[in-house]
Structures are given as C-alpha cells and as structure tokens.
Assembly symmetry: C2
Homo-oligomer: 713 residues x 2
C-alpha cells in the first residue's frame, strides 16, 4: 500500500540530516488550501487552532470565493500569495489533490499535510490518485505528510505551530508523540495534558505515503528539545527502516512505544511448529527489544512513565532510597520496585548518624526512611540531602501524604529545591485530597517544580521502574555481528543455485549437510551411500553405533514411515535394516545416510524462519518435549551478535539444564553461541533461505553437534 | 501478639449473627473519652469529623476540665452522661485504658474504639496493659476495636458515623473498606472519593486485639448496603478464621483484596526444596484463590475495579460487545479484554440488519460497532439497544471520545438511560478534555447516571475483566472434600503414636509405607528383610527386576551413600548387592527394603508442607528436572476437594505431558486426583504430620504408583 521516496529517506538516515522536515515542523508561513468559513469544518478548525495557539508565522487561507476567513485575508490560489510558503494543508476533494501538489511544487512549498481522505485507504481509484500526487511531489521535491491524517503540532514557543484539527492545547514541554492512529495519538496528547506534562511535538500521519513514522522518529531524535518520544503504532510499514532509525535514536533518548493488535497475532504465536511459533506480535516485541525501545501494553502506564522522563534524569543503577511519611504505602512501593528489578539497599553509617540527629524521635532510620506523618519540610529535606550524598543510592522514591497538621507547602518546597539540582531522579507518590484548596497549592508547588507526582504507590514505583529500565537498555551494547571468516560462501552459493535450478523447496540431506559444513556448523559424521557394502564400509569408517536414514526425494516424513533406524551396533544389524528399507521403499532414487549415533546428551533445537518485511528470525530452545509442551524457546531478529546469542541461551526457562543438574553433564555453551551466530550469518548471506531447522542438536559437555537438519528455500 | 475473644467470635461466625458489631458501626450515642479542645488533636478532630459529617446520634465529649468542646456540652466522666452510650472512643494515655474499659463496661457501653497507642506494638509492658483491658472487656462483654487504630466510618445517611480522625469525607455509596494499615486504608478511601465512588463503611483496626478483620469482613458481608468489599492487609493474624469468613462472604459479594509484602516472601518461594517452595506469599495467594477473593498487586487497579462493582451487575459470561466512536482505542481495548479471557463474538444477522438501518453510512457494523466520531446519541442508543438484546453478549464496553462537533450530552444521556436498566454491565472509556466546561457537563451526566468511566481503554477493559473474573469465581463451586471411607485411621494413629514415643522426626520406611497403605495410596510392592535368603524370597515373590534399599535409622541420604541399587534382575545380582551393602554399612539395625522396580513411566511428585497458622499445603508437580529447574509445581491449601485436585493437575505448565505426547503414553490422571485427595485427608486426620513427600510417583497409562516416600512428624 505504501509508496515511499526511498532514495530521499535513505540519504536522510545515512547522513543524519533531517532539516528537510523543518518545513513541516518549523513552518514560517502556512497555506490552508481548502480553507473554509464553515465552523467545525477542518479547513476552519485548523486556522482557528493556529490562531488560538499563537502561531508565530504567517497564515494564508486559500479559498476561491472568500475574501477572508476567521478575519484573516484569504487568497483565491497559492499563486496569489505574495510571499514564500513553506507548508501547506490540503483539505480539498481527493481528485483535485494531484494538481494541487503540482501547484505547491511550482510555488516552492516544501512540505504538504494532506488532511483529505480518499486515497490508498479507498481501493484502486484512490491508490491511483495517491500515486499521481506522489509523482508530482517527487518531481518538485515536495514532501508529503499523510494523506488522510491529522497533521503535526510543534509546541515550541518559537513556532506554536498547531497544524492539526484536534482540540487539546498542550503546554510546551519535552515529550514528542508519533502515532499512526490519530484517535490514540489525540488521547495520549490529552492524557499528558491531564497529567500536566508538557509536549514538544506531535505527528499523526495517517496513510504515511511519503514522510514515514521512522523519519518522524529520527527527526525527534535529533531535536534537542525532545527528551523522550512516545510512539503508538498498529504495525510497521517497513520494519527495517524503523529498526535502523530506532536503534540510533533509542541510545540518545527513551522511546516509549505501544503496539496495539497484540492478541490476535499472539494466538498465532501459540502454534508449536518452529516456523509458526513466531507470530507478528513476537516480531514487534523483538523489534522493540533489539532496538532498545521501552515496550508497553498499557497506555496509561506509558503516559505516566513519560511524565517521569519529562523532568527527571536517568538513574545510574537500580538502587532506590525511599522516603515516606506513612507506613503501608512504603511496603507497596517496595514490592513494586523489587518486582521491577530494583534494590532498596541499607544506608551507610554516615547517613544513619546524620538522620539520627535530624529526624523526629519516632522516625525510622533505615531504607525506607520513615519521617512519620508529623515530619515537616526540614525532615524531608534532611532525608533527601542524605540520599543525594549516598553513593549506594541511584534514585529516590517519596511517599508524601498530606497530613493536615503539617506544613505541606514547606515539604513540597524542600522536595522541589532538591529536585531542581537534578542529581538523581526523584519520583513522588503524592497522596492528598485535591478537593481542599490548601493541598491544591501544595500540589502546584510540586508540579511547577518538576516533581513527577502520582496518586498510588504502585503507579509511582512503576514509573521509576521504567526510568531504571531505560538505564539498563542504554547500558546494553549488543555490539556488531561477528563475521566468521572461515565460511565457504562460494560452495554454498553453488549448492543453492543447483537447488533452485531443480526447483527444490527442501534441500536434500547432502545439500543441507554440505551447507552446514561450509558454515562450520558441526553435524554428526555421515556418509551417503547406495548399497549395503558401501554402507558397511561407511559405518566402519564412522564407527558403530550408527543411525541409518532412508534418502529419497519422495520420502518426506521418513521417521514416521520407518525410514530411520537408530543405534545400529554392527554390520549385521545394518544389512538387515537396509534390506528391510529396500523392500519398504521401492523407489529409484533410494540412498542411505549413515550417521554417527550419539546417545545421551541434551536435546536442543535451533532454527530460522522468515518474517515478511523483517527478515529472518533465529530460534533457540530446548528440544523434544520442551519445545512441544513447554514452548521453552526464544527468538531474535537476525543478525544476532555474540551478546544476543548469549542472551538467547540465558533467557530460556530451562537455562539451568545447560549448566548440568542432578549429576547430569552440562553442555558446551560457547559452541551453541557459535552455532547461533553462524546460522545468523548463513541466512544473512543467503536471504533466499526461508526456513531452517537444526532439530535436534545434541549438546555434550565438550561439544555440540546437530544430528538432523532441514533447509527450505 | 494477638489475644482474641475466640469463643465470642466462633459463635458469631457459626451462627452468622453479627449484630454485635452494630454498636460499633451503627452507634446512636458516642462518648469521646479524652476529648480535647486542642485543634488538630485526635480528641478534637473526631468530634469535628462527627459534626462535619452530620452524625445523626448524640455526641458526648468526656473531659474532666472542659465544660464544652467544639460547642458541645462535655462531661467529666462517662458516668455523668445522663443517657445510654453504645460506642466510646478512647484517646487517653495507655496506662489509664484498663480502668476506662472497666468503666465503659459498667456504663453498658457495647463497643470501644481505642485510638490510643502504647499496647502490644510497644513490647511487654504494652502487652500487659492490652491483656488487662481485654480482661475487663471480656468481663463486661465490651467489644474492642483497635487499639492503636484510626476507627470506623459508616456513610449510611441514617448514621453518618465518622468515628475516625482521617480527613476525606466520602459520599454515601456501596463500597466498604477494611484495612489493617490506616495509611493505605485512608488513601484507598481518598482514591474512591477522587473517582467519585461512594463508600459504605470503613474500618481500620490497628492492633486488632479483639474485633478482627474477618469479623469486619463478615459484618460487611451481611450488610445489604455493601455491594463490594475492599480489603488491604499486610498479613493475617489468623488465616483460618479469615478463610472461614471469606469463603462465605465472597459468594455473596466480591472481595477485592491486596496483600503487601509479596516480594520479600516471594524470594522464599524460589527455593527448590518441596518444603521451602511454599513461601508466605504463595500462601496468601492460595488463601485468596481458595476463598474466591479477587487478588490485586496494584491498588490503583483495585480502586478502578471497585468503581465498576459499585454500579454494575456481574456479567453472566465472557462475551463483550464493543461500541466505539474511534478506531485505535477499540483495538487496544480488544487486546486487553482478550488477555483477560473475554471474547468479542460476531453479531447476529438480526443485530446487523438493525444496525444497517440505524447507523451512519460510514459506520462499521460488526463487533466492535464503530459508530464513528460523527455518531450522536441515537447511534450510540441503537448500538446499546442491539447489544442488550443480543443473547451472545454478556457485557458492553464503550469508547466515547468527545468530538467537539457532536452533542456529547445527548450521547451521555442515552448511555445513562440504558445503563439504568442494569440488564448487562456497561463500562465506559471516556476520552475527553475536562478543562472544557461542556465536557465537564457530559462527564457529570455519565457519573450521576452510574456509568463507570475510565480515561484509558486498557484501564476500562481491565475493570470489565475484573467483573468477569468475579463471575468466574462465583460460578466455581469447589465442593466439599471427599471423605474416603476405606482408610484405616486406627492403624495410622498407632503408627504415629509409636513414632512419637520413639521421639522420631522421620518415620522409617515400614511406618511410611504402612501409613500409605492405610490410606490406599498405591506404593510399589515391597518387603523389608534382614538377610540375603529372605531378600531373595521376597524378590521372587514380588518379581524381578527389583530395587534394593538399605534401611537403618542412621542412614539419612541413603541414595547418595550407595544404599540404593535399582534394576536388580536376578538373585545373583541381589546377593552381591546385599553383600556390598553389609560391608559398607556396618550398623546393627541394617535391614533391606526389596521393592518392585518400575521402569518407564512419567516421574511425578506430590507432597505436603505445613504453614504456621494456616495448616497443610498440598503440592503436586512433574518430578525430576521439572521440579528442580522449571519449578513446575502447584500448591493448594488442605483440604482439597476433587475439583481442586483436578485443577492442580491442569494448572501445571507441562499438563500436556500427562495426556501423553510424541508417542509416549499419558498417565492415569484420575488416580493422581485420588492420591492428592487421599494425602489431603491423611494430613487433615493427622495434623501432626509436618512434611510428606511422595517423590517420585511414577505415572503409567493405567496406574500411578509411589516408589519412594518420606513422612516427618
């Protein structure tokens, strides 16, 4: 559905130049093509919003009949506008849009927001119109936002560019929002507004036919005024483009993201087959994971976390100091903080000695520090100062219940003073009765002082947990994929070329095993032979016991059909088995695979499946019933680095089995890490590989060896 | 720490008579002993609160010096009060409290709230004072609430009894709160107030030395005005008493509960040993599960769910109809509803035909029904009417974004009209800009009309999910424990008596196996013998192959010490093994256990551990590495019913293994269900059993047999 000006965008990302979008987000003169005097029409509301929000540039309503709209001089066409225009809204019937884009190009307009609908979302005819205006846009270098979209908002007071028909007017701040769904984008904006969190920029780009979500994210990434990015999507047009951008941006600032539509696809993920284990939803989570994005299933929690990011620094570790003036909520907060992977370390003797001097006698000196309900501003202040000095504390959580008998404003002022030093992040669970005016004052002191305030201990603790999670993501350097130099790419290419020539879907054993050998993926020693005598020689060369497998293009499920015999101990057993197979499978191309039998060891599985637009997913897990019953497998998007391959091992539930347990041997983990990386390199070198299974791989203490494999192209 | 008037309470619960607490919750005349003219002192604030909240009864400040307090005539002592008093607050130093309780008894006061601190929480001296006033209370039949507590509130306009020093004044409603921690209780009350949810009763009983949390819950259960109960606790003084009450009350109305302190104890649960697998936190969750309580880890979600219960009926099933006027939030809601186990079924042809007539042309006729942003009151109304008639719809979820170009009040009025019929529960995600007055009006229409409104789709969907979960809990009848009549209690009693006489901690094999036989728990055929000849005879009687185990009081870890030999196939092997053991274990009491060897089958584990104050926990799981690495076990509190035993089987992750997989046989599940129930009966009959392990139990297609067992008394 999407037609993109790829060349432009690729340059953009590569050169890290994004000023091209300045005409969209930082316009100096805006034409509203399709301006209307009709109240509540989009062509009227946008002008109203621009004026209401105090747009600092010029507004040119374009309307063939009206001399002025909302008191602003209107022009019949853009060519009648005497000045330069950098941005145009287009709100006219879709059939006129291609011509208007041509006009915009001629007028030198750099960006156009097409609010009108009636394009790719409306079938073939609409698609043709979309392609037509895109061709004109390309001709003149005009960038298109939309169509069928809300628009953008830039809250920077230098611009106050409210190029949107929504009806929330955010205060300027540091959170920027990108949303494909305008409905969700608008209510996220509203939610931040309700939380008194300032916004930086907003973009909801509908069909996203040219300027893409990744481009917007990239722009936000380079915008110094944006401290954190909120992203809402129901899918990715081009996951690879998104990943390229996201992995760069997420290192610079947190991206908080939510993808809806997770359950329908989650169902697909339940299927037990390797290929179908990886549903779309898994892929989204994998994209978020690989690129260091903070993933949410709950948009309320996402907005609450954004509030914390908007004012607080990122903690340097997981150690929290808790200050409370009430008992129970500190217990609740501790539960949640610990659940989020954080610690509540004991205080140093130095700290305790200071607190013994400064706290009320009934206070509890520890972590949490309970300043008690009668504690006032100076008690909170001392606790805050002490925690700021503690080397073993990375962030501060406060429970502040407004007891009527304390000077709550003084408490608030002290919290604010320490908060404004921004040495360590501070989160406040502020429990009060906002229907009382005196506590509204206290609340305002905290809010104006940039203290993120929540109404529940769990909610506040969760927000701090997200700050910490970003610290973890930022600290995680997955590195670059290892490029193994000892692989034989040429031979592999030839094998695949031959297979393609033969129109094969599945490679035969010889081809599969040769490819694995080419990529130094260990496979149990094998020979392919045509008769009993050769089989016996092969078995003797390999050494008994062996496994015998019947080989033929016509044999698909050879194990079910009796085409596999394991643990053959001598030549006699081998002869008998071959004779039986020859009788059973009366096919011309029957061959026999003689393979070393490897008893014992731990059954493992590795594999690859392909995900449209995303590329290969690499799978690793425990084999046998573990994969079938317990689904103890993990996926990552190729290419995987050594760190990622290692994470795959450690993130399966049965990880301890790899270390050995109950007197059983562990397995050679470094070899598994190598195999995973080599598989990743193989499918990256040969994207035509659609599916690949190493099932099982047998893990021993000192080696890991695949004993069966399958490749589909 | 707790001293309870158990006799009273037991009668109470048994006879379901709770009017004894009427003097506490429905007082007609209240004395404030320790009334004070000092502003912000508790003895002043309580009088202020009673007056402010419009207490309908009489208030008698008791103060030896003041003639009046806050304009109300005061009395030097309670004996000077001319009228009857049913409730007294006590706010005097702890040392005077025992005498005052005696006085209260003499005056005929039925309940006393002791706000004062300085009792059991302060060590021995305080404990002595507490025991002293409790003795006096018992003498006169005075019931004590507290000490060291906030008090109670009854918002019923017939009473308006604000017997508490908190500072939130709830509107009357149907949610009652019980909280051991006053801090958390107060902020939950405040949170409901902020959500505009009315409250019925409130109780925060501090040390809870007499009137217990379960008694309060029982009282709420019988109070017709209470529709739902919120419970906050950090632990249970007497879990059994709580369970007895909770399982009755939870059938009548939902109990929403949160227990803080879950993580510290969660750590204990991580230990891999059977006995230590069941930490305190597991126990709380088990209590909640067994008694049908809605458990929360997040107090904000608990309050939001309470809002739904306060006005909505319970859905009769899991099928949701969605009405939306915006796309994205319906996707988000669907995700959450499905995650909560609900379905979004297709609409009937009848419904679709009606909607085709009544909806705007651009509306989407389906489930969700998208009435689109321009949809007005009549469109919402038609959608609501249709869903109310749909037999396949049990509840209704609404996304209502207030588009400025629609008559949002009319939409709200239509939702309210349908809501007030209360035929099916309705939940509304109301997305608006509350800083605009017109939408405040819309919001008020919804609120006054009893429509639970949330600000986020996930939040609203979660609340509906909890309503549904209560339906599930209410529908779940665990039944009564099976009493197997074929057990031999007398023999078991004798075995245990002998073991006690011998001061044994662990029973010997003969004792263990005899007890299992007494309770018809199948154990692999065995004999205990003293020498090789008897061993061979025994083995021949049982049939080779057999297992040989050395038996001696001094042998604890016999398997590690080489005291177990499996798969002995003939008399020769047996003789050799016994000779080896005789050499290795040169102890006087050496005997030999000859047991049938059972190869193959699925390794299972069952066991019992004891939890202080709670009784026995029954464990079931997959044995071997499943229990050690994957912790695939489940616990229930004894006694378990047949349904619960069956649930134990189906709730392990590897449940499919019991059905058989990959050509392997399944196991005889009914036999496992029986074994679990028989273990439960055994430890219920003999509470002196501290620990018991059947490890492993081997499961076959047609039988399930324990092959090793251990009992600790």
């Amino acid at each position: 559905m999407e037609t993109t000006l790829l060349t432009n965008k690729e340059n953009l990302i590569e050169n890290n130049v994004s000023h091209e979008l300045d005409s969209l987000f930082k316009p100096k003169a805006i034409a509203i093509i399709g301006a209307s005097s009709k109240e509540l029409s989009i062509g009227n509301v946008i002008i109203k919003n621009l004026v209401h929000y105090g747009f600092t540039g010029k507004i040119y309503p374009i309307n063939p009949k009206e001399p002025e709209i909302r008191g602003i001089k209107a022009y019949p066409t853009i060519f009648d506008v005497p000045d330069d225009i950098d941005l145009a809204h287009v709100i006219i019937p879709s059939k006129f849009v291609p011509q208007i884009i041509e006009d915009c190009g001629k007028k030198g307009i750099k960006s156009v927001i097409i609010n009108s609908a009636g394009f790719s979302e409306m079938g073939e005819e609409g698609m043709a119109l979309q392609n037509a205006f895109l061709a004109n846009a390309k001709k003149y270098g005009v960038r298109i936002f939309g169509p069928n979209c809300q628009g953008i908002i830039n809250c920077d007071p230098e611009y106050n560019a409210y190029c949107d028909f929504t009806f929330t007017f955010p205060k300027p701040g540091s959170i920027s929002i990108a949303a494909l769904s305008g409905g969700v984008g608008a209510f996220i904006m509203q939610s931040l507004f309700d939380l008194n969190v300032g916004m930086r920029m907003y973009a909801s780009n509908g069909n996203a036919c040219d300027i893409s979500l990744p481009e917007v994210v990239n722009y936000y990434g380079e915008d110094e005024g944006t401290k954190a990015i909120i992203l809402y999507t129901e899918g990715f047009h081009n996951p690879k483009e998104f990943m390229d951008v996201a992995k760069i941006v997420s290192k610079k600032k947190p991206i908080l993201a939510m993808k809806a539509g997770r359950t329908e696809e989650g169902a697909k993920a339940a299927a037990s087959h390797t290929g179908s284990l990886a549903g779309v939803d898994i892929a989204t989570e994998l994209i978020f994971e690989k690129t260091g994005i903070l993933s949410f299933n709950n948009e309320e929690e996402m907005c609450q976390a954004a509030m914390a990011f908007s004012t607080q620094p990122i903690p340097k570790g997981n150690r929290v100091g808790i200050i409370t003036n009430t008992g129970g909520p500190a217990v609740i907060a501790t539960d949640e903080l610990v659940s989020a992977g954080m610690q509540i370390p004991a205080l140093s003797e130095r700290a305790k000695n200071i607190l013994k001097e400064t706290m009320l006698p009934e206070a509890t000196i520890g972590n949490p520090i309970d300043v008690v309900a009668t504690g006032g501003g100076k008690h909170f202040r001392s606790a805050l100062d002490v925690l700021m000095e503690e080397e073993t504390i990375d962030s501060i959580y406060i429970n502040f219940v407004t007891a009527p008998f304390t000077d709550t404003d003084d408490v608030a002022r002290n919290i604010v003073e320490v908060n404004q030093l921004k040495r360590k992040p501070i989160i406040c669970n502020f429990m009060t009765n906002m229907s009382l005016e005196r506590f509204q004052v206290t609340s305002k002191i905290l809010q104006d002082g940039g203290v993120p305030c929540y109404g529940f201990p769990t909610t506040a603790a969760k927000a701090l947990g997200v700050l910490y999670k970003y610290h973890v993501l930022q600290s995680r350097n997955i590195g670059e994929p290892t490029q193994f130099g000892d692989v034989n790419k040429v031979s592999t290419e030839n094998i695949l070329l031959n297979a393609k020539k033969e129109n094969k879907e599945f490679l035969n054993s010889s081809q599969v095993y040769n490819i694995l050998s080419n990529y130094k993926i260990p496979i149990a020693d094998y020979r392919i032979v045509n008769n009993i005598n050769d089989a016996i020689s092969a078995a003797e060369a390999i050494g008994f016991p062996i496994v015998l497998k019947a080989e033929s293009e016509s044999l698909v499920h050879k194990s079910d059909a009796g085409g596999v015999v394991v643990n053959i101990k001598n030549a006699k057993e081998l002869s008998e088995s071959i004779e039986k197979m020859e009788k059973k499978f009366a096919v011309d191309d029957l061959q026999f695979l003689i393979q070393k039998f490897l008893p014992g060891g731990r059954e493992l599985i590795a594999g690859v499946s392909i995900k449209k637009d995303l590329g290969h997913l690499i799978l690793f897990g425990l084999g046998g019933i573990y994969v079938e019953v317990l689904k103890d497998v993990v996926f990552k998007i190729a290419q995987v680095t050594e760190l990622e391959a290692t994470e795959m091992l450690t993130s399966i539930k049965g990880f301890k089995l790899l270390d050995g347990i109950r007197g059983q041997d562990g397995v050679d983990k470094q070899s598994i890490v190598n195999i995973i990386q080599r598989i990743s390199q193989l499918v990256t070198d040969f994207p035509e590989i659609q599916e690949m299974d190493l099932n099982p791989i047998i893990g021993f203490k000192d080696k890991v060896i695949a004993v069966d494999a399958r490749i589909k192209i």
